[in-house]
């Protein structure tokens, strides 16, 4: 073997060793990369599971802020609610969808959906003060108009809104509305049944057979359609929404800053009442 041959063999051995080392290193790196990838995916999975669980808990806990079950007429809870409503609106004139003196100088139109939890918030929040300050004193009348938002089934929407309007034929629509919002369930959970509506009608103090008959009046269903058109003309796509103006004059949108604080409503009403 010549010295040159020996050098070539050494070089080949050296190259092979380096190749083997490089291969080992590559395999080690690939294994480590794979392990790191698995660790990261596991950590991502844990975070995602925690987030999903947290959202589910928040959803369940926040529920909707409303009662989940309809209140049965005649029970102590129902009686208490009826008394509350009578205290709030008792003695105030009602006619059809209107609460307040027909000759009141200011008109407020309240566009609502009976299943809308935000309307409930307004009805139990800012509205009592507005009624006490302005409606009871004869300066304001409030008209309730129907606009479908929270109720997803048009037939259910029509049925519940017509049921309220039918109570209005006995000057009890606002009793019906107030009680509906107080006993509102989780929207679209199917709580608006025939027995729920009849229970509300009974608590509202209407003559049930008359109310049942009035629910078939096609004029009431037409009124629900007309209300939707009025809302569309005003550019409303959410509830509650409001129009306000002087009696017999043009109504304009009422911009409010809160549904629980009546300040912005008071300012708008006061301005119109004084002008």
């Amino acid at each position: 073997m010549t010295p040159v041959d020996s050098d070539e063999q050494d070089l080949t051995r050296k190259e092979r060793r380096e190749q083997a080392r490089a291969q080992r290193k590559a395999v080690e790196q690939a294994e480590l990369a794979s392990a790191t990838r698995r660790t990261r995916l596991r950590q991502l999975g844990i975070v995602v599971v925690i987030v999903v669980l947290a959202v589910v808990v928040i959803l369940i806990a926040s529920g909707g802020g409303s009662s989940k079950k309809a209140v049965t007429a005649g029970t102590p809870t129902a009686t208490k609610m009826v008394n509350e409503v009578n205290t709030r609106i008792g003695g105030i004139p009602q006619s059809g969808d209107t609460l307040g003196n027909a000759s009141a100088p200011v008109t407020l139109q309240y566009f609502g959906d009976l299943q809308c939890p935000v309307c409930r918030e307004f009805t139990l929040g800012a509205l009592p003060s507005i009624i006490q300050t302005w409606v009871r004193t004869g300066k304001l009348k409030i008209e309730y108009l129907s606009l479908e938002t929270a109720t997803h089934e048009p037939e259910v929407f029509k049925t519940q809104q017509v049921a309220a309007l039918a109570a209005g034929k006995q000057a009890k629509m606002w009793n019906f509305l107030e009680l509906f919002y107080r006993q509102q369930g989780e929207e679209n959970s199917g709580y608006v049944t025939e027995s729920f509506l009849q229970g509300l009608a009974a608590q509202s103090g209407v003559n049930l057979s008359q109310w049942t008959s009035d629910r078939n009046d096609s004029a009431l269903a037409k009124q629900v359609v007309n209300d939707a058109e009025a809302a569309s003309n005003a550019g409303f796509n959410g509830t509650p929404s409001f129009l306000i103006g002087k009696r017999g004059g043009k109504l304009s949108r009422l911009e409010y800053s809160s549904l629980t604080d009546p300040t912005s409503f008071n300012e708008a009403i006061e301005k119109l009442a004084k002008s």
Binding site: A33, R37, V51, A54, G238, Y256
Partner: protein, 171 residues
């Protein structure tokens, strides 16, 4: 996209989100109506029962969330910092998803400030998850590694951890 550019992008988005959340928190406590092009939609959302969670305004929760995200982005670059950013943004994304659900199906009004925050949080969550899964590409890239061989394939996912936690062997 380089790690540095990605981090700066995340930071910029988080700062914008912080601005939105700060404004909504101010509006909540000042009791004023938020600037809104969609009529009363923002006021409706901001004053709804869903504007607080266990008595804490959701805008304030968002503000705290953005501060946490910015804090994790300003922390020294590393596996734990990237994990923290991803975790905070995913929590923020989940919370934004819940709030958007409430806006669409309970309040029936969209607050554009809340919607913009939700979009920012969604982008943040996506980018930070990508950043976490790919690791630190700059440290792992052949160009900056001591070996410096030309034509080497890009370092595989996970080599960032190797480069930071394992001292390289001498050849």
């Amino acid at each position: 996209m380089s790690s540095r550019a990605l981090r700066i992008t995340l930071l910029a988005l988080a700062v914008i989100g912080l601005g939105v959340a700060s404004y909504l928190t101010y509006v909540h406590y000042a009791g004023i109506k938020p600037a809104c092009t969609a009529g009363e939609s923002c006021a409706k959302v901001q004053t709804s029962v869903y504007s607080t969670l266990a008595g804490v305004p959701v805008a304030l929760i968002g503000l705290i969330g953005y501060i946490a995200i910015i804090g994790s982005l300003l922390a020294p670059e590393g596996e734990n910092a990237r994990l923290a950013t991803m975790a905070f943004t995913l929590v923020g994304f989940g919370f934004s998803a819940y709030l958007t659900y409430r806006e669409l199906f309970s309040i029936h009004a969209i607050c554009e400030w809340c919607a913009s925050s939700a979009v920012i949080m969604t982008v943040l969550a996506g980018l930070s998850t990508w950043r976490f899964l790919r690791g630190d590409t700059e440290r792992a890239s052949p160009g900056s590694a001591p070996s410096g061989g030309h034509g080497e394939p890009a370092a595989p996912l996970g080599s960032a951890l190797l480069s930071t936690s394992v001292h390289p062997k001498r050849p």
